[in-house]
């Protein structure tokens, strides 16, 4: 056991000392922030503006179709499908003659095709206009309608999870975000660190150092030392990311102007209830930051992070052993590695697809089974956990999933060790899956 520690140390330090490791550690959080800010910026800035000419034989749409940032409706005269482009419109909308209860087609012709969400927006706007028209006909005045529209927007759904006697504010959007992000992170790291194990084993085999080492230590110790060492690199990476993100947030908050910081503090002290006078004083940005902090505080972060680390490690150990087995039978040809890796990468990709489904419906039987089967449980369980423990995921399910994962990686490690032991010393021979299975299930 002393020797396995020496191996772990080498595997760990040789990777952590590497410049690439430091680069990835600091660049990835920056890249993530950049990606979020960038995509937000472009979704705001980079949208097209559509000027739509409306042909309205009924004459009541004119004040009803509301302009938005992306959509400008105009009602020019003498316009038809042949000349709307020449007159500077991007689209033309042809309204049918309106008969109150008949369903009618509204035709949109465009110079360039329009995205799905914009089309949806237009048809929603048309339907709203028709609804307003009907309501008006029924005797409701325009001013009444306007005030109804305005006050209706104030309503906001606040969901609570009942947990025995106490109930906790829940936020489905946040849960989904966390579930999605942690599933994706586990998916990516499984690939990165899994292939790192594969390449490490292949290096030892193709460099012919394997036999030198296994004459000093057992092949099992060499394999396990490598897996644990690389797993520790992964953990280090995550911890550094957490530290970097927390530091960046802290720095970001401290860079806020002093008055906003004061207001934020007041909001925090009063629990968001400053009274009308105070609320009026607080600036929009302070309120936004407070709201964000409040939403984030509805999640049990220590639980999420703790379970994330568990499922990362469990999933990594489960798959890393398989990657090591494949690495041990590969010869010089990297293409062998590609084809042998395929049966391992398939379940990872498949699990990721399941995760995306489960995130929408965390309580289906499929969600349950996928979160207890170790092939997919690291990703799928993380997606479900973000919805809440023990409300969405009861304790027994969590325990079952953890136990099967631990059992799973013990099993894969045990089987892989037997393949590894034979494969690592075998040169110049192409090994098939059938042979590997034979080695794995051979006795002794």
């Amino acid at each position: 056991m002393h020797k396995i520690w020496i191996i772990i140390q080498r595997e760990y330090t040789s990777r952590v000392k590497n410049k690439r490791f430091l680069l990835v550690t600091f660049l990835v959080p920056l890249l993530m922030v950049g990606l979020i800010v960038g995509s937000a910026y472009f979704s705001f800035k980079g949208t097209e503006e559509r000027k739509i000419a409306v042909v309205d034989p009924n004459g009541f749409f004119k004040d009803k179709l509301k302009n938005s940032r992306q959509l400008k409706f105009e009602f020019p005269k003498d316009i038809d499908t042949s000349n709307y482009q020449a007159k500077g419109y991007s689209d033309i909308l042809l309204m049918p003659l309106f008969e109150s209860d008949k369903k009618a087609d509204y035709i949109l012709r465009s110079k360039k095709s329009m995205g799905f969400s914009l089309q949806e927006t237009i048809s929603r706007k048309i339907n709203a206009a028709i609804e307003d028209q009907m309501l008006e006909k029924a005797g409701i005045q325009q001013s009444v309608l306007d005030s109804i529209h305005q006050s209706a927007q104030i309503a906001e759904l606040k969901a609570y999870e009942d947990e025995g006697k106490s109930s906790k504010e829940s936020n489905a959007a946040l849960a989904m975000g966390i579930g999605y992000a942690s599933g994706l992170l586990i998916y990516i790291t499984m690939f990165i660190y899994g292939t790192m194990v594969l390449r490490g084993v292949m290096e030892e085999k193709t460099n012919r150092i394997a036999e030198v080492i296994v004459s000093s230590v057992k092949p099992f110790e060499l394999m396990l030392g490598k897996i644990i060492g690389i797993g520790a690199v992964g953990l280090t990476q995550f911890l550094m990311w957490i530290i970097v993100v927390m530091t960046l947030t802290g720095v970001g908050l401290s860079l806020l102007p002093a008055d906003i910081q004061n207001q934020l503090q007041q909001l925090q002290e009063s629990g968001g209830q400053m009274g009308a006078a105070g609320m009026a004083q607080a600036s929009e940005s302070a309120k936004n930051i407070y709201a964000l902090q409040h939403v984030l505080s509805t999640t049990n972060w220590p639980l999420i992070i703790g379970l994330f680390l568990f499922y990362f490690l469990g999933g990594f150990l489960f798959y890393a052993a398989l990657f090591a087995a494949v690495g041990s039978v590969v010869n010089e040809d990297p293409q062998d590695a590609q084809s042998l890796m395929f049966p391992i990468t398939m379940p990872i990709i498949f699990s990721y697809i399941i995760t995306n489904v489960v995130i929408q419906n965390p309580n289906t039987p499929m969600a349950f089974w996928a979160s207890v089967i170790p092939f997919s449980s690291p990703m799928v369980m993380m997606a479900r956990i973000s919805y809440g423990v023990p409300t969405t995921v009861p304790y027994w399910e969590l325990a079952l999933s953890m136990v099967t994962l631990i059992g799973g990686f013990l099993l894969t490690t045990w089987l892989s060790a037997k393949i590894y032991r034979t494969g690592i010393l075998m040169y110049g021979k192409k090994v098939t899956w059938k042979e590997m299975a034979k080695w794995a299930f051979a006795k002794s």
């Binding site: 020496i6 036999e211 030198v212 080492i213 296994v214 004459s215 000093s216 010393l425």
Partner: protein
């Protein structure tokens, strides 16, 4: 004298072939032992069992009079496999330290020994270099140092001279003699017979997983001698076939040398007497013993050794 290593009835079967099929022999303390055999004879499998990499399917291994326990005895063995390599990106000093620690040396001990050997082989300046910067010969030297660093009782060298120039080969050869003199036992596995003849005291030849020859180099040569003598004279034309011997080869590199094979039960002095009586002026007269190479080829040819090398485990 008690043997250092004693193998009895070792067996190792792979799926479709008997890689090692009931092999027994002893290796004396302080000897240089040659393990010979064609490719695929089972040498590497045998060595892997002696180093504890493989467990034998049958038979026993005794090291220094005790049952061989791979976990405990690994410290006593230094193994330089035929397929040997190093981490290309790792610094040479760190690499030597790492491998020595895996052998069971403490860090301080390992450091001290590495310094000693690096000085001896003038490798001090290599410490911070990487293996990928070394030539093949240099990395062989490093391999050798790593193998003997922990002063093992038993040193196993599989083709230790491959890729070495004569200068470095001699350096290592001298070191092998040195280590043997100091009491280490050396197993030397190769199919280069001239090296075996030069270095080894005792050899074992394996073929098709079985031991086919076991003895000292001198004994084996005697055992396989064919009563061939070389006669050097200024008048080779005067030597004719007769009842005592028959000429087997006149055209030696030296035109004055004639090789003769003695007839059955003829003593070599009778030939000498005959030559003197014939008044043939003799410059030299000596027995020609077969080289190990000849013996090797004679024994291994006609078996299916070649076919076996291509036989695969299905």
């Amino acid at each position: 004298m008690e043997p250092l290593l004693s193998l009895s009835h070792l067996v190792k079967h792979y799926a479709t072939q008997k890689a090692v099929d009931d092999i027994s022999f002893d290796i004396q303390k302080g000897s240089i032992f040659g393990l010979l055999g064609p490719n695929g004879a089972g040498k590497t499998t045998l060595l892997r069992m002696i180093t504890g990499i493989f467990y034998p399917d049958g038979g026993t291994i005794q090291l220094d009079g005790k049952h061989f326990d791979p976990l405990l005895d690994i410290r006593e063995i230094g193994y330089m496999p035929e397929e040997r390599g190093l981490y290309k990106k790792m610094k040479i000093g760190e690499q030597a330290l790492y491998l020595a620690q895996l052998r069971g040396l403490s860090k301080a001990d390992a450091m001290e020994k590495i310094k000693y050997w690096f000085e001896k082989f003038e490798m001090q300046s290599w410490w911070n270099k990487k293996v990928e910067d070394l030539s093949k010969g240099m990395s062989q030297k490093l391999q050798f140092v790593i193998t003997v660093l922990h002063e093992p009782k038993l040193i196993i060298l599989d083709e230790p001279f491959s890729g070495l120039d004569p200068l470095n080969a001699n350096l290592i050869k001298d070191e092998i003699y040195n280590l043997a003199k100091k009491g280490s036992t050396i197993i030397f596995s190769t199919h280069r017979m001239e090296q075996v003849e030069e270095i080894c005291d005792h050899i074992v030849l394996v073929n098709l997983g079985k031991k086919i020859l076991d003895g000292t180099v001198a004994d084996i040569k005697q055992q396989f001698k064919e009563y061939i003598f070389a006669i050097e004279t200024n008048h080779p034309e005067m030597i004719k076939d007769n009842a005592l011997f028959s000429i087997i080869d006149k055209a030696d590199k030296n035109p004055n040398k004639v090789l003769v094979k003695l007839s059955h039960a003829v003593a070599s002095n009778e030939v000498l007497k005959y030559l003197i009586e014939q008044q043939i002026p003799i410059i030299s007269y000596n027995e020609v013993l077969p080289s190990l190479n000849d013996i090797f080829i004679q024994l291994v040819e006609d078996t299916h050794a070649k076919a076996r090398a291509f036989q695969n485990i299905k």
